[in-house]
Structure formats: structure tokens, C-alpha cells
Subunit: 286 residues, 2 copies
């Protein structure tokens, strides 16, 4: 496994791989890798990548002024070990100055899909995400890129960007990987004390309740929303949203629904957590 | 020469060329091709392109509500003939619906460089340009793309976008091609009556005056500006700007300058015309 921090050296390594006939697959991460990330590495191989690139970059552009950029976990030595053990070929670890040199002034912006939910609670967040991912696509030239569906809205936004800008990349969303008990894997789970980790289960408990109601025949969007909301409100310090939406457009649903995604964001102690479940599609949180 | 209007067929044709080892070169145009455009075709070959792609698309996104989208000249049959005669390999002629299908919602935006001059007089113009060029880069996958320097600010904006988004494309600006008498070649020259075409020479006359003053030793930015402005004001119906700027940052200069670009935009009859000259670098307008 090779590790590169310099931008043009990274581009050259990807170019060499493509020139040698490899199918380059990309897994963009902010590091602090966990089993969820490593499942993305497996997935990109399943999608035909013969040369797997993982990028580790805590992208300042996607953090708001009052967010956790400074304390976001950095565990590079372990990340590199984990990548090597999982069969990654190339890890890109640029610094902020390489990605955003003086004079940088270009952004990629997706409009409608970025407005609600995470976009409303984290102004500028998706603009930072789409910009950095467009850059990573430009540098890497991947055939396929895999993102975790815990960030479900992000996945849909990146799908949209890729289609709208005609980028020659297959964007894949990989199902959420959960801990025992149901908590969605997240680098931010490290912020949680044992008690908070217990309370954080309220999110997956809300999803499970909605999934059980769905399995029992409930199809009313408002009812499903309230069923999901109960356990979240009981456990979290505050709730940003619990919503039942169309899985493609992310528009809130009402009345009887035939397909639905439950989206949750809530604060538990120092962590802002998100989770989601596609009803009747995703497996029940453990 | 092949002509393709369908998006995925175009992508496939470019993919085939690259797979066959060709170096793909791109010349994006809005059609109504003139000698200026055809010089770009020659230039892209000089830059090593072995497979030359010309796109012909009157991009609605870069026209303001009160601009000339509806009457912009469309001369496709002649354009195709001219491309074939010049040794173009592939012409892409998409329609609006192919480029901007329902649900399209992504834009690429360059900030600082797009604010003055054309950006100030044509709000949203550069956002339309950068978005469509990003899309054409995504579809074509070119090594090199050539743009005319009549649209000097556009060239700088596209350079910036390409660098900022790490797109693997060499962006080249080709010197202005002029008619006898000095008028910069432009598809919009077709709007001019014989009398207006005569008056339109005021723009290149202003540039020539500044260049002659430069050659005679004038280095004061304000003096150069006024020297350039005189002939433009005498001839045009109205002047949007005459400015002496830094050729890289496009910031207005004052005091003594060692390197400068003169930018002009003015209205003559039904046409809004732009022109520019890099003092001490570009040849004098004939």
C-alpha cells in the first residue's frame, strides 16, 4: 500500500494505475475509520475496482463555524493500518493547504436536495461536501465511488451532482453498518460516554419502532413519524428532526405511503448523531 | 467526421477514442462558427490532440433574461461543413433537454474572478459558463481544451475552475482573431449593419491607441485607460467599461504599471461587443 500526501503525486499514482488498465475505485473518508468505512472498501471491490483508493481528509469546508472541526477524531496511524489490512492500494492524506491553496474560489453547489434536513441544520455543509468530492473525483478519476448511507442525504446529493455534471463515476450508497444494539457506526460515536452511548440507542430504537409498525401494516406517514419520534425524544438531549420522506426526492410525505425513508438527527451529550432507515427495504436495526 | 446529439452516445464516442489511445482535445462553442473558432481547432491540434471534439451548444444558462438567447445566430449546416473541412473528428450538438433534464440542480461557481466586468454586467453569466464547461469536461474527458481570449475573463475563470476542482484538463486561451480593420471576430458581429460595423472599430481603435501609447512609453494606468476610452466613446452607443487591469487577477490597476490588460465592453446598435489587448504582449490590432 502506498500513502501520498502531495496532490500531483497522488494524481500521478492514480494516472499510472489507470494507464496500467486498473479500474480505480474511490472511498472518500474523513479518517477515524471504523467498520462502516471498511465495509465501503469491500463494496468498492465488489463493484469491480481493482485499485482501491481511500482518501483521508477532514474537510474544513463542510464544517460550520460552531461545529466540531477542531475536535473531530484524527487516528491516522490506525487508519493506515486498517487500510493496509483491508487491501487498499493507495491512501491520500492531503493537508488543507494542498486542497485549498491561496486563491481557491470555486464551489460546486446542488440546490433543491440540499435545502432540508442536514442542509437546514448545517448551512454550507453540502456545498463543502460537493466541492471536495468533485475535487477528489477530478484528482482520482475513479470508475466507482462508495459512500455510506448513514449520510443518506449526502449520498443522494452526490448522486445528483454526479449526474448533473455528467461525471464519469458510478456513485454507490452502501447500507448502514451498525454496532451491537443498533447504533449506527460513526466516527462521532467516540464523543459519547457510556451513558450517552446508551441513550444514543434512542435513534435506532425509533427506527426499529417505525419498521415494526410498517411490518404490522401502518402506512400513514404522520403515524410512522410519531412512532419513530417517541424513542428519540425520550433518549436524546434535543431532536433536530424526525421525518418520513420520499427516499429519492427527500420530500416529506403525508397520507398513505407505499415507500418511505425515516430520517433522524438528534443531539446526545457532545455528539450530533444522524440515522435513517428505508422502511420495508433496509434490515431492522439489531 | 461524426456528429452526435445524444448525450450517452457522445460520451461513448469519446470513451472509445480514449480507449484507442487518442489524446482527446475539446473546443466548446455556441456555433455560428467563424475563423476565430477554427483557429481554436488548429490550436487544440498543436497542443497534441489527436482526436478533436467540437461542441455546438447555445447554452441557455449563460444568457440573462434580457439578453440575446433567442436571436443568437444558429448556422449548424455551415458549422458542420466548416468542422469537417478543418479536420474535426466529432461534433456534439445536444439540445437543451439533454444538457438540463428535469430535476437538474447543480452549478459550479467561481467567486472573486467572476465579480467585475462581464460578471457585473451579466449576472449569472459565468455561473452558466462554468457549469456547462464542467459538464462538457465530464462528458468528453479531454486532455486539453481551447478557448478564445476575446472572452478573456471567461478564459481566466475557466482556468481557475479547472485548477480549483483539480480537473485533469489543460485549459488554453488562444489569442484573438481579428477581421481586416481590427474588429475582433465574434458571432455577434452578424448583428451589425455596415454602418455599425464601421463604428464597432472604435473598440479595436481604443486598444490600438493604448498599445501605441504603451510603445511610446506611457505606463500610467489612468492615462492608458483614458487613451483607450476616447475612440470607444466616440464610436459606440454606450460603454459598459474600459479598464486597465492585471492580466491574471483582473484587478484594476493604478499608478505605474509594468504589465497590463485593457478590457473593453460597449454597445453598438443591437450588439454588445467585448474586446481586449495585453499591452506589450499581444500584436497591435490591424
Amino acid at each position: 500500500m502506498e500513502r501520498v500526501s502531495e496532490l500531483e503525486a497522488f494524481r500521478a499514482a492514480c494516472d499510472r494505475a489507470r494507464a496500467a488498465g486498473e479500474r480505480v475505485g474511490l472511498v472518500p473518508t474523513m479518517g477515524a475509520l471504523h467498520d462502516g468505512h471498511l465495509a465501503l472498501v469491500d463494496e468498492v471491490k465488489r463493484r469491480g475496482a481493482s485499485f482501491v483508493v481511500v482518501t483521508v481528509f477532514v474537510n474544513p469546508l463542510q464544517f460550520g463555524a460552531n461545529e466540531d472541526l477542531g475536535r473531530y477524531p484524527r487516528t491516522l496511524a490506525q487508519d493506515l493500518e486498517a487500510c493496509e489490512a483491508r487491501g487498499v492500494d493507495l491512501v491520500f492524506t492531503p493537508d488543507d493547504g494542498a486542497m485549498y491553496p491561496p486563491g481557491f474560489q470555486t464551489h460546486v453547489e446542488v440546490e433543491g436536495l440540499t435545502q432540508p434536513f442536514e442542509g437546514a441544520h448545517r448551512p454550507g455543509h453540502f456545498r463543502g461536501v460537493t466541492t471536495v468530492v468533485a475535487k477528489l473525483f477530478g484528482l482520482t478519476g475513479p470508475c466507482v465511488a462508495v459512500f455510506g448511507r448513514k449520510d443518506y442525504q449526502q449520498w443522494r446529493v452526490l448522486e445528483r451532482m454526479t449526474r448533473d455534471l455528467n461525471l464519469p463515476v458510478e456513485v454507490v450508497g452502501h447500507p448502514i453498518v451498525r454496532e451491537e444494539g443498533g447504533l449506527a457506526r460513526s466516527s462521532r460515536n467516540r464523543y459519547l460516554s457510556p451513558d450517552e452511548r446508551e441513550r444514543a440507542l434512542g435513534l435506532s430504537r425509533g427506527l426499529r419502532a417505525a419498521a415494526q409498525a410498517w411490518a404490522a401494516g401502518t402506512r400513514d406517514a404522520a403515524a410512522l413519524t410519531e412512532i419513530a419520534r417517541g424513542p428519540v425524544e425520550d433518549a436524546a438531549d434535543s431532536v433536530d428532526y424526525v421525518a418520513v420522506v420520499d427516499p429519492t426526492t427527500l420530500e416529506r410525505l403525508d397520507g398513505t405511503v407505499s415507500r418511505a425513508l425515516v430520517l433522524i438527527a438528534a443531539h446526545v451529550g457532545p455528539a450530533r448523531l444522524i440515522d435513517n432507515l428505508e422502511l420495508g427495504v433496509d434490515p431492522l436495526p439489531a
